[in-house]
């Protein structure tokens, strides 16, 4: 039954192509994030170093430390993601709609196109999740890129249910543990 529902969801997505606009990214469900990501990892942003390219564009290297790799390979202990935008000598380049990694924040990241795409995360904000401490020191929870509770669709996907708009914001928070379990399930582990 669960597979049938997921198949139906995928079919709907095929029939109604998701439109991406502006510095904006196509929404992605968990299955797509897992499949399309070259790397999936958890890490903490320890530095954000901007520099100017020869063509005049400004880019920023985000360095992630304390990395827990879930999918893909990494050459070292840290991972560096390159994104368009940043500030050099008082001149700042910004792209509306492009999410921002915040220093000292910890993220779950579905990365792809590093060094090639304007923002090397699958689906932009859809593929980066903040990790926050759970209530009363409980299990860490997963929030959206902007620190909001997860949307009903992906939360339901993790929980193995069909999304219900009526749940709204009162749905229970998604723990990192359950999120990782859902990822690993889709990776066949």
């Amino acid at each position: 039954m669960k597979k049938t529902l997921i198949a139906l969801l995928l079919l709907l997505m095929i029939q109604l192509p998701v439109q991406a606009q502006a510095a904006t990214f196509a929404d992605k469900n968990l299955a797509q994030l897992v499949v399309e990501a070259e790397q999936v990892f958890i890490g903490t942003v320890v530095s954000a170093q901007s520099r100017k390219l020869p063509n005049g564009a400004i880019v920023t290297d985000f360095r992630f430390s304390d990395v827990q790799l879930i999918k893909g390979d990494t050459a070292g202990t840290d991972i560096v993601l390159l994104a368009l935008g940043g500030e050099v000598d008082g001149l700042r380049l910004e792209i509306p709609g492009l999410p921002q990694f915040q220093r000292d924040s910890r993220y779950l990241v579905f990365s792809s196109g590093n060094g090639k795409d304007i923002f090397p995360v699958v689906g932009g904000p859809a593929g980066m999740f903040q990790i926050a401490a759970g209530a009363s020191g409980g299990n860490p929870i997963v929030l959206t890129s902007s620190g909001m509770p997860l949307g009903t669709a992906i939360a339901a996907e993790i929980a193995g249910e069909v999304a219900s708009p009526a749940l709204g914001a009162v749905q229970p928070p998604v723990t990192l543990e359950s999120f990782l379990a859902a990822i690993k399930s889709r990776l066949g582990r």
């Binding site: 606009q21 502006a22 990214f25 390219l53 005049g56 792209i95 689906g123």
Partner: protein
Amino acid sequence: MKRGSKLLTAALLAQLISPPAAGFALLPEPPAHGFVMNLDVSAAPFQSIGYGLTSWRALAELALARWNAAGIGSGPDFNFFGTTNTVVAGNACARDGVNEVTWAASNCGFSYGSAIAITNRWIVNGARAEEDVLFNSNVAYNAYQGPLARAASGSETMNDFFRVAVHEFGHAAGLDHPDQAGQTVTAIMNSTVSDIDALQADDVAGARAIVWSQASATTTTTIATTTTTSQMAPGQIAMQSYFPLRPGYEWTYQDSTSVRPYKRVIGQTPVSINGIPTWVWSDSGGVARYMTNDADGIGRHASGSQSVVPGFGNATVSTIYAPPDMYVPAKVTLGGSADLSGTIVENVSDGSSKSNSYTQTNRFGAERVTVPAGTYTTVRATNVRVMNGVTSTNTIWFADGVGIVKLKYEESTGYTQTYSLSAINFTPAPAGAALNLQAGWNLAGNSSTGTLDVAATFGDAGNVLTVWKWIPGSAKWALYTPSLTAQALANYAGSKGYDVLTGVDAGEGFWINSKAGFTAQLPPGSAVTAAAFQGVASGWHLIAIGDNKTPRELSTALAPTTLWAWDAGQARWYFHAPSLDANGTLSNYIATKGYLDFGAKLLDPVTGFWVNVP
């Protein structure tokens, strides 16, 4: 006291109505200046799906015009965006001083990912100094209205250039994605392209909330770029207010072939030609043209000569055009064209007649032009006529509320003549100024000398609940609602002691309770100035002015005890009291009462406001 209690009731009623949830999202940095965009996209015509014969550039111009019509900032600035007169090769990957708008296969060497267009914002000293817009040339684009369509291959979206351009220029103006800011609103600024193909109320409210002072704008006029109404098809512009035929209106031009100024004047009374009332539009060269500007468009019905003071003497009609010689249709599509080929049957005054057939193609675009009188955002109409073996090209630049600001005549013989506007003798009409209404209560005003036809303007029951006007003489309200028939409305209004509202006259304000956000338009006319209210009777008046005064400036002409304007978005009152302003306690009083301070905010042509005159 009775008047006061009714006003209080209205005010309480307005405050009790819950405003719509706060919408839109602003980018943190204000613009350093208005943006002149370099539309480095092709001007070559192509047959679009939904906009007829158009071009990418024309569509981009139209998208900019939409934001200008909405107005940027609280002023608002209706000329925030301009376009360069000449397209140059800009670099979107660097801050080069050019606001580049172009196609590109990558963004500075980086893949777009799933984005179809991107705006690169360059920020210096905390202000946005340059905006570069890139359209992803790897994906399919066309232009159409309504629901999103598929590309021919069937698997991809056929992107609509116009709505994407509107979205990107919204970023350039200063708006972010409301949905990514946690809001659920209907807006073209949402991050995902959708069936929404035009600005929504939330977008307009956001544009008006951008921190931008019209006073610091680099432009010289505040004339709306387009005259959109909720009934008009996307991309169309109604030309009526672009050619004001008003008694005594006078335009002075520089003539490229003469050192003498060239004038055109409208006569004082209409003249009937073939039973049709026309306005005599005569020039300092002694030529009179008998013009109409109506549902058929702008047309010439006759020509003649005039030997006395232009516009005031009797003209001798020498030629009658049947059918009339049409300059432009009533509605034009920027980037589009119209075939106005036909035959002019000239009935000459000596009794003879001659017939001349011609082919004529009119093309329309938007252009920002600078002439001695100022800089204007215009509709450019280029008509190429072939008649009697001679090809002539007339290019006319029309500015909303102003009329013809530039005219260039070229013949295949090599003859060229250009007229450039240097002065007008009237205040440009606020006609065409967009009246952007939000869901809920709006306090609006008609600062045009024309009367606003309430049923014609607010007759859509899908948008409008009620419209109210205060009648000072009888101290009562006049009501209109599109949900009742005329008879039912009369019965209801009579039972409640209201009048039936049919028109909002020059300089009057009015309340409108809207079901949804939508855009309406003020009627054609010149601007009612603050000076018109000097000596107004004591008591409460709900008024509007068209000369953009601050409350402090208005007080020198009107000297009210108090002045109030309603902010629909915040559901709060703006307040001003000259006496408190004079003794320095106004700001403190406003703070203690929770009102809003006008500060430098202007009483713009579409704002209605209360004044209590001692």
